[in-house]
Symmetry: C2
Subunit: 228 residues, 2 copies
């Protein structure tokens, strides 16, 4: 990359990072709202989530365009190249998180037609973990912090454990009382959507580690692994 | 891109496409095997699927490396740039399809511990649709064929419809006979995994349309939309 464009590229990259954080914030808000509507049995909130994710979809297109512009105009190398391609992938992950918030809201809508199956403890807990993972993964991306990314990967086991626990517990309720089969099924689906949000955070964290630590893909390299 | 490297880049791109098709074939095989083991109640096949997807994971890394090498060495523009970035995304989608085959196999393992819930018709049908979508989406990528990609997007509705139908039918079984709750739950999860495979095919098809039709991201452009 020619020296004269380096500062400009870094400015653009900072801008891109801010937009990704913004998109992450929007996606996280929607997940929080969807799960809040479940706990508080608030149909107004759930309808709001279902009403659409236009801002997320707009950001998704804008971020994608930014990434392609950066690749085409600056032809970045090494960690900068990986940072932009990672941004394309992270952008996709965040859009999916927005979609999953809608899936959760759809299940909540059905769930609220029935009496509560049980007091909800593990599912809000799963939601908090998934949101934290997502936020930390994005912070790790912005800071190029592999230790933070690794911590996100470690949290995924806790989320998987909770998902299994929720499944077993709800199965028991279903077996004991057929009237709970339908709402319990929706809780199981919600817990799986939350697990998938954790998976998307995991994807982001893996991208961060690859971005920072991967060997340089050019033959004439020497600047492959930048530190965090 | 300088003229002298164009043929070489196109050769590399062809090689990349072949590897993506190969990876798609492997992922599809695993989905087919997982669903076959469900229908034929064959624990040998299911164990084989569970034994791991090392070849897919190796191809995943190889394809990612190829993409980054192509980006760094050739600095492709316009549709070629989008083709490579799409390949990174498609590669991720295909790896996830491989993961979903394992998720299906895990559910099959649990399912086979119980008596059959019912004769399975819709789930194998869903599997065939998902596999076809995946194959067509990859063909559309290789041929840069947006009409074919659009056809994949259209098929997704059929898959969603079947998923809803499977859900309702299995819910009826669960409500009628508590001994069917556990195995029916696993069939519901399997149908959702198949739906997600369709979603990944949809992602690939969307990438193809973006790759072919997106406006060129460079300012001084004129070669944005290449025909199929």
């Amino acid at each position: 990359m020619a020296d004269r464009v380096v500062p400009h590229f870094q400015d653009e990259l900072e801008h891109l990072k801010r937009r990704l954080l913004e998109m992450g914030g929007l996606a996280e808000d929607r997940v929080r709202a969807a799960v809040e509507s479940l706990v508080s049995r608030d149909t107004v909130i759930v309808d709001h989530v279902l009403a659409g994710d236009t801002p997320i979809n707009q950001l998704h297109i804008e971020i994608d365009n930014r990434c392609f512009t950066l690749l085409a105009l600056y032809q970045p190398m090494a960690v900068d190249l990986r940072a932009i391609v990672s941004a394309v992938k992270i952008n996709t992950d965040l859009e999916r998180v927005g979609d999953l918030a809608i899936n959760i809201a759809e299940a909540v809508t059905r769930y609220l037609r029935h009496a509560p199956v049980k007091e909800l403890i593990d599912i809000p807990h799963m939601a908090r973990i998934a949101q934290t993972m997502l936020r930390d993964a994005l912070d790790a991306y912005v800071r190029r912090d592999t230790a933070m990314a690794q911590a996100v990967l470690d949290q995924d086991d806790e989320l998987d454990g909770l998902k299994t626990q929720v499944f077993r517990e709800l199965l028991t309720y279903m077996l004991q009382d057929p009237s709970k089969i339908e709402p319990a099924l929706d809780l199981i689906l919600i817990s799986r959507h939350l697990e998938r949000i954790g998976d998307h955070a995991t994807n982001v964290a893996e991208d961060v580690i690859f971005m920072v630590l991967a060997k340089d893909v050019r033959h004439h390299s020497g600047e492959g692994a930048d530190g965090p």
